[in-house]
Symmetry: C2
Subunit: 356 residues, 2 copies
Amino acid sequence: MSTINFYAGPAILAKEVLEEAKQGIENFAGMGLSILEISHRSKQFVEVLDEARARVRSLLNLPTEYDVLFLTGGASSQFYMTAMNLLNENDKAGYINTGAWSTKAIKEAKLFGTIDEVASSKDKNFSYVPKGYEIDPSYRYLHFTSNNTIYGTQFKSLPTTDVRLIADMSSDIFSRPIDVRRYDIIYAGAQKNLGPSGTTLVIVKKDILNKVNRQIPSMLNYQTHIDKGSSFNTPPVYAIYVSLLSLRWLENNGGIQGLQKRNEEKAALLYNEIDRNPLFEGTAAVEDRSLMNVCFLPKNEAHTSVFIEKAAQAGCVGIGGHRSVGGFRASIYNAMPKAGVQALVDVMQEFEKENA
Amino acid sequence: MSTINFYAGPAILAKEVLEEAKQGIENFAGMGLSILEISHRSKQFVEVLDEARARVRSLLNLPTEYDVLFLTGGASSQFYMTAMNLLNENDKAGYINTGAWSTKAIKEAKLFGTIDEVASSKDKNFSYVPKGYEIDPSYRYLHFTSNNTIYGTQFKSLPTTDVRLIADMSSDIFSRPIDVRRYDIIYAGAQKNLGPSGTTLVIVKKDILNKVNRQIPSMLNYQTHIDKGSSFNTPPVYAIYVSLLSLRWLENNGGIQGLQKRNEEKAALLYNEIDRNPLFEGTAAVEDRSLMNVCFLPKNEAHTSVFIEKAAQAGCVGIGGHRSVGGFRASIYNAMPKAGVQALVDVMQEFEKENA
């Protein structure tokens, strides 16, 4: 029996990606050395980095005015770097609060400008995406978290505004098309839809930089990394390499369009079962349900640990819900095959029979 | 013929470390999952992180008042984080300038306080370590780079002062004993003596924190990472795991004392050949020669590319010197076996015969 990985992140990688990732440890690009011990200035790694950046460009149809960076420090570092690079002390920015990560982004941004929480779904434990709020057109930018891993909600359309957008897409990057031109910055920790932990993808519109007064340490200035092609300092070589393998896999599996279709099918399969099966119920507002993180509860609370155990026996691991929501969470990112979701649905149906 | 890795960083890892690193990609700790796709909150990874921190403690005999962090962003991030966390705007700190990395550390620290360059070896292209300078006892700290990768110099004794020390030990951590109690902070990018690129070891004396007035983003405050045991955000799981494998290997190969002895033997073997062989000469002041990065020049400049080619044919790769010094640089970090150094010495002797 194989293990099916439903963890929320670090998360499932495709079998083909892992196979190549392993070979690179032994002998990379015929160098007779492991990729873990080669110079980041070697021709072979420069090619990896160039190809990774080019593939992000082509997968997202990035216009030339955007640059692609592979940094470190996760989305947690982007929470302050975005504001630090874009806001003068008297500038205002709007933030939509859809959960724990948005809340952290707001907290860190407040060190650098005036931050308005324009909308929040905190009143219902972040189980929906706010709608119908006003956006001050003077905001330097509007920040939102496109997919909320903990609560299983996802923005299905962009906020109605002409204000420039910044989005944390850590948990749904590459899962669906993006209207890139509306964004100043898109960032994503790699460890959900892109690769292993250890690198952060940042897409930045170049002409927005160098407009704030404060002095910014070199490592925290996006311009530094643009100028040096993500190699101002030693980049996280292996995390970038595995991300490249994943980007190749994305392209070979239908690209963004193909993945979107498959992601919709996978999510429909699981949500249909949740809605049909009398033992379970979804937690997120139906119209805001995430295609990436499917959160659901047992109708009988005593079933929580029993079902997690039963799922684990069938090879489905990582389905415990986040403590702030409880119940179950199945993370079905890009790399999750439809058969993996079907296996979980099978467990749910067996569980129904046993508890009829 | 096997390839012998003399790159300056990312650098050689022990064969045993690479073998285990590869196995973790396939199936980690019997989980049926790759270490690249497991949660950083899983019991299995928490054990990795705990063991890595404990091994650093025991290898360096760290007193309890110090904490061990595994961060990201390299030494380049520590250049500003150290000053940001320790200096108020009116505080002064002293820096010893022994090369490119010290120069960068000075530049970044200047954003946060008054920085005095107390000594520099720039007058002779950083080919020696300054001595006999005055250190203002009012400095909040004195910063130095213990080993200078580019120029092949290394501090053989600590500066004579009661001022607290901060050191960038990226290229000689774990290569010799350290008098830890004299330091407030020790930091090291992993990719030379510890592991692959992607994580940075930081050893910090806990009572020095929370004494500056400025507001610091959570990710940049050492206190955050101490409070959360290096898991405030998703840590670079694999880079930390491979570093742990390396720490185990260090312990199994004589610990710091055993490595120091071996490092001294390896360096003596190579420096003796440089001094004996009429075709070569060392670049660093003899008393400051690094045990980690051995820099040397051909007496006949036309020999540079010929010798690099000849060495490569014998499997010795990565021996080209940094452009600011030229010639050759053999990086012989902890993981370099004595036989690797002997192989290079053999090439030098053959080269001598051919060019007699």
